[in-house]
Symmetry: C2
Subunit: 367 residues, 2 copies
């Protein structure tokens, strides 16, 4: 057994010596900088290949760029967030930049820590997916590093942003349910830690829910369970709603994840979907399309959002200083989890199983 003896990495000086040129020349070749003859370029490239040289990001970061984009997300397992990252990574493969993902957790304290970790690592740009920290903090970070905030409605000249129009999306769901004949519609929202921020996406969805209820004269039927957007949150929220005096005939969950929890709770309570209760989600996660779930939900293309985010971030890094704000118009996807209450007027829409898998980049419908 040979001793491990971590061998030293090949450095730019090694390459320079091997090619018989200066460090600066090698650096220029690597960065495709101006002022290098064709002959020199060839020589250096050969030396790089022969020695298997790769520049060290830490050293580059100190002076220039780290060629790294940091992605801050609550948890990497959240399906919709994973879709966004798919788009981002796709976009970045064309460039020299690499995306690194980092866990922010569910508290703004842990998120702050993660954010610090990214800035400490000198990333060139940050993509924040539905961050929890306050706007002031965001702007402070954005002053140091090009930043793009995804999924929050508070615009700022300091950073770019991409949001799905949660008002429209929520309206689509609500109008759909009301058109089916529902009146007792309940909602499950995400309870922020300390004082909900008015510009956070969960708040807008909840707000829109209430407004539409009032607009249709169902103000008395408003019922909100404030738990979380996770499956667990949906489960708890649904149980709470079911325990109240008048049972809702439909539940609009703020996210697909939460809707899954709702389905579980209903199943446990022996209630059928959509017979006894209709259920709708938000995000059109891959699972919503599964025939065993067949969830009516709001579609916002995470992959496209991720790609756009990547493009905007690269632009910022290249020097753009004016802020850009994108708003994505969502659409409703009706599946079997919603129907008229009490089974009357069963508007059986033809079942659509739209698979959205990592192996199938193009979304395709069967039958």
């Amino acid at each position: 057994m040979v001793a491990p003896a971590r061998r030293r990495r090949v450095t730019i000086s090694d390459v320079a010596k091997h090619a018989g040129v200066s460090k600066a020349a090698v650096s220029k070749v690597i960065r495709n900088d101006y002022g290098v003859s064709e002959a020199m370029r060839e020589r250096v490239k050969r030396a790089i290949d022969e020695l298997g040289y790769r520049p060290q990001a830490a050293a580059r970061a100190l002076r220039g760029r780290a060629f790294t984009i940091g992605v801050l997300m609550r948890h990497i397992g959240i399906p919709f967030y994973a879709e966004i990252v798919t788009g981002l990574v796709e976009q970045l493969t064309e460039s020299d930049y690499q995306a690194i993902m980092i866990h922010g957790g569910t508290h703004d304290k842990t998120e702050k820590r993660a954010l610090d970790a990214l800035t400490d690592r000198q990333v060139d740009g940050i993509l924040m997916i539905a961050p929890l920290v306050g706007r002031t903090q965001l702007e402070q970070v954005a002053r140091e590093i090009p930043t793009l905030v995804l999924g929050r409605h508070d615009r700022s000249p300091a950073y770019d942003s991409i949001v799905d129009d949660d008002r429209i999306g929520s309206e689509l769901v609500m109008e759909h349910l009301i058109a089916l004949g529902h009146r007792r519609i309940a909602h499950i929202t995400f309870q922020q830690e300390h004082g909900r921020l008015a510009d956070q996406m969960p708040h807008i969805r909840a707000e829109t829910y209430e407004r539409v209820m009032r607009d249709h004269g169902f103000a008395d039927e408003v019922a909100v369970a404030a738990t979380s957007y996770s499956e667990e949150g949906g489960y708890r929220g649904a149980r709470e709603l079911l325990s109240r005096s008048s049972r809702p005939t439909a539940i609009f969950a703020g996210s697909d994840e939460a809707a899954l929890g709702v389905l579980a709770a209903l199943h446990e309570a022996g209630l059928s979907v959509p017979g006894d209760v209709s259920v709708a989600g938000y995000d059109n996660t891959r699972l919503a399309a599964h025939p065993h779930i067949a969830l009516t939900t709001v579609n916002q293309d995470g992959v496209v959002m991720g790609r756009t985010a990547g493009r905007l971030l690269l632009e910022r890094i290249e020097g753009r200083t004016s802020a850009v704000h994108f708003s994505v118009i969502p659409s409703l996807v009706v599946r079997r989890s919603t129907a008229s209450p009490r089974g009357t007027e069963d508007c059986a829409a033809p079942h659509i199983y739209a698979r959205k898998g990592h192996d199938a980049p193009t979304q395709s419908d069967h039958q």
Copy 2:
């Protein structure tokens, strides 16, 4: 509107000047190094707080440590992998280290690129989840950086490893199906790019499937669809299996994800589960427990595996040179997706809905 004017970060020199001491002293305080008086420690700490100083990882990396653990995974959206990361992150919060995740993709070429990206960034340790690259490559990386390989059976003195015992897990599934009375059991496996590696986990599951079939005298009934472990792969695999002359009465999918695709394909074909076909998966993903899915599967605790991985990596970084190999014994979780063929002898196991959510760190069963 104020000009952005990216302001300069506070450096160690600023702190030193502010506290009236040397850079070296500040450095010592930060690293809890030996040879600092209590008075000095206090002064420096106060200066750090007053200036809001945070050391820059890139600069530290150049000389010492980057305090970063890199996690290489095919895709961050794979539920089981996300669980592993949960455990890892949990373990690392106690330390000064930060986990960064990176997409490897499904080709060993893109994976190699991602791996390079991690080494370029001078991470102190690497966790590779079910990597695709060859053993030689792994050992080469491990010679440079402390490495832990998760989910592969090829041990090496160069790196630590954690695996679930896929032989036992696959046997559990097969014996369960056979005990129920199944004979025509099919399997869906993951087709490696170029020449399957005998030590890869999909190969072991497939191999065990075939062995158990032979051992029970069902060699003629062996039917394998080689697609992928994704939902899409399961869907394609199931369609292929169903199109063959004799339809299987049970399908053992190599992963829960694939099992979801199988369920979708069966639904589309108008076949009931478990009435017409029983389905089993592997990993006990959170979704397998959902009552609408209720998948019989193999449980391996990803969170615990991730925690262990973190511990072992930190040990390595601290200097351990001997390799450690962990093997986890999996267990079977029986749910409603498996039953005796043709509905005879319906062994209706009481339904268990075990939620495994991010909000619910403790796994709890209802009813």
